[in-house]
């Protein structure tokens, strides 16, 4: 919590649009509005099948509630600013990028390979340099988990270049 400071004191020079409360509120409202738009595309059931309310009514009400509460939060933040966190370090972005690598590799190449690649990227960029530990964390441990799930739970993992070798 030491790295947390109050926006009021430090961000006076920043415009309103760069305040985290504005950005977060804007993101929530934009996404909610898009979803609200989609609720108008839901099928409408005839009155005979209608169970109390139309299927779109409940999500619509929820989204309007979210938008209203977000606006309320934002106006409160004008009086009582949110605490702003420190800038995110590179290790965060690398971890996030490793998720993208995992999704891409597991979709187009192999699920196991995706886990192994993510593990090695995360472990290496979080500071691990010892090769044996990198092998342990990226190959041996995922292999144990893989075999465990496959044998105990009878799980069949999605096909891929390595998984196909395992299944023969």
């Amino acid at each position: 919590m030491n790295d947390v400071h109050n926006e009021k004191g430090t961000n006076k020079s920043l415009s309103l649009f760069f305040k985290s409360s504005f950005i977060v509120s804007a993101v929530i409202i934009v996404i909610s509005s898009i979803l609200l738009y989609f609720t108008f595309t839901f099928d409408i059931v005839p009155p005979i099948l209608n169970r109390g309310i139309q299927p779109a009514t409940f999500p619509k009400a929820l989204l309007i509630l979210i938008i209203t509460l977000t606006l309320l939060t934002y106006f409160i933040s004008l009086k009582k600013p949110w605490k702003s966190e420190k800038k995110l370090p590179n290790s965060f972005y690398i971890t996030l990028l490793s998720f993208v690598v995992f999704i891409t590799v597991s979709k187009f190449l192999d699920f196991f390979l995706g886990i192994a690649l993510l593990s090695i990227i995360v472990s290496y960029f979080w500071g691990e340099r010892r090769v044996t530990y990198l092998i342990m964390v990226s190959i041996i441990f995922p292999l144990i988990v893989f075999v465990f799930f496959e044998t105990i739970l009878g799980l069949r993992f999605p096909p891929g270049i390595i998984t196909n070798l395992y299944y023969g």
């Binding site: 839901f42 779109a56 979210i66 977000t70 597991s106 691990e128 799980l155 069949r156």
Partner: protein, 487 residues
């Protein structure tokens, strides 16, 4: 009451005792590791429970819950980092006392007060849950709707952080539950043409994402953090003098924790903060708090463990989770085909009392394991994050994939991990999302069925006394933060 004898049934089942033993050890490990905890651990273990019978599965999850809640104290005292959020208040006095060379005394008090709080709350559970279940026989659809709304408003008002942000998070959780085919009319909602979404978004990808993956992202921002570790020689039982100082605090905090646990909220986290604050308020030496007060440790630990049994009361009696971990336990019950509620008490008493008995045994087990094994469990924190989190990722991915064998579930898990990270970063608690997701179908279903009964007349909700009471309580709950702020 004639079923009380069934409480001892787990003692005579070697299978349940083995499950309890491993559940307690696993719970302690999860509790000790900062960032994990019984909620994430329970969600990760859920797929494995499919290999067990329903009672063993729920016993495993409850053992993890009880031991995990206590395990957080070990890390809080030795490295000043709460293993679980519920142990945050324990840091305040636990670590300063450990720095004075009294880590064993601090852990001894944490262990004893946790066990007393835990056992007291199971007694509350045993006597209070059947009463609540009996009351629930009076509930129809409108009453359940009002009760679910009350649960969500309580979550907003007494949960951690901003009440409005908690409400937004709760509404977001309910919104997630609307994805997929509408269960009453089979109309697709928010499926965007993706076939896998027609069945809706599962509980496991959301929980694992919001807790485990978001924590992994949080840890990625803390890789240079250095923990100052206090050495532990052995855990010491509290002295007579310590008991004299703390017995009133332990009893008070056990009551507070059990009561807070019953309310749908963040269970142990809120309970420990209130337990700690009350211990300070009633103490003869409040100036010692924050400097290593033994009463502070007792107040926080008795309360957070007392919340475990309390949180199980609405979960089993009404099917409304009292905390994030009980939401996982509730999911476990549903996955195993057990529907919580009053009928469960009438039709399967041996199942319920088996859970009660197992929770009592789990409390005794973590006392023994904590007392003799705290030193070993503390060493688990030496596993560096750079090795630990990639391994947790592998288990999270395989665990999430395993339930439906769906790669979409894995991607959803990652998406919710990113959402959870930013929610926590900007002060939104993720717990209301989980509770909202669990309650979503109940809220919408009971609302729509009530409107069918009422022929679309909303005002008829107000003609049902129990429903009206819950609505009034909801209004009071919502106005509570405003009153608190004015004070």
């Amino acid at each position: 009451m004639e079923n009380l004898g069934l409480i001892f049934a787990p003692l005579f089942s070697y299978k349940l005792l083995i499950v309890l033993f491993f559940g307690t050890i696993f719970g302690l490990i999860l509790g000790v590791l900062p960032g994990l905890g019984p909620t994430t651990g329970g969600a990760l273990i859920l797929p494995f429970t499919m290999t067990l019978d329903p009672l063993s599965a729920i016993v495993l999850l409850t053992a993890i819950y009880c031991a995990g809640t206590y395990g957080g104290a070990i890390t809080a005292i030795l490295i000043n980092t709460p293993g679980t959020p519920a142990a945050a208040a324990t840091c305040l006095d636990g670590y300063p006392l450990a720095q004075k060379g009294e880590a064993g005394r601090a852990l001894g008090m944490a262990t004893v007060s946790s066990v007393i709080g835990g056992i007291a709350s199971v007694i509350v559970l045993i006597f209070f849950a059947p009463l609540l279940a009996n009351l629930a026989y009076e509930f129809g659809q409108p009453e359940y709707f009002a009760l679910a709304i009350f649960g969500l408003t309580m979550l907003a008002s007494i949960g951690e952080g901003s009440p409005i942000k908690n409400l937004i998070a709760g509404a977001f959780g309910i919104l997630i539950s609307t994805v997929g085919k509408d269960f009453m009319t089979s109309i697709d909602r928010f499926t965007f043409g993706i076939n896998e979404l027609t069945e809706g978004i599962g509980f496991i990808p959301v929980v694992v994402g919001l807790f485990a993956i978001s924590e992994m992202l949080t840890q990625s921002t803390l890789i240079n953090q250095i923990f100052n570790r206090v050495a532990l020689k052995a855990v010491k039982l509290p002295s007579i003098d310590d008991y004299k100082k703390t017995w009133k605090t332990i009893i008070r905090s056990s009551g507070i924790g059990s009561f807070i646990g019953v309310l749908p909220a963040e269970g142990g986290t809120v309970a420990s903060l209130i337990g700690y604050a009350e211990a300070k308020r009633w103490s003869k030496k409040p100036e010692d708090f924050g400097k290593g007060s033994i009463e502070g440790i007792a107040g926080a630990e008795a309360a957070n463990n007392a919340a475990t049994g309390g949180a199980m009361v609405p979960t089993l009696a009404l099917g409304i989770p009292g905390s994030a971990t009980t939401a996982v336990i509730l999911t476990g019950l549903i996955i195993h085909g057990v529907r919580p509620g009053p009928d469960l008490f009438r039709e399967q008493p041996e199942f319920l009392y088996g859970i009660f008995g197992s929770m009592l045994i789990a409390n005794i087990l973590f006392f023994v394991l904590g007392f003799f094994g705290a030193k070993i469990f503390a060493r688990i924190t030496l596993v560096p994050n750079k090795l630990l989190w990639p391994m947790i990722f592998a288990v999270s991915v395989c665990g999430t994939y395993s339930l439906n064998q769906s790669i979409i579930d894995v991607w959803l898990m990652l998406l919710f991990g990113v959402i959870g990270f930013f929610m926590r970063r900007y002060g939104f608690s993720v717990v209301p999302v989980i509770i909202g997701l669990i309650l979503g179908e109940l809220v919408e279903g009971t609302l729509r069925q009530s409107l069918v009964i009422f022929d679309g007349n909303w005002l008829m909700f107000l003609q049902r006394p129990i429903a009206l009471t819950f609505f009034v309580l909801s209004l009071i709950a919502l106005s509570f933060p405003l009153i608190k702020r004015k004070k």
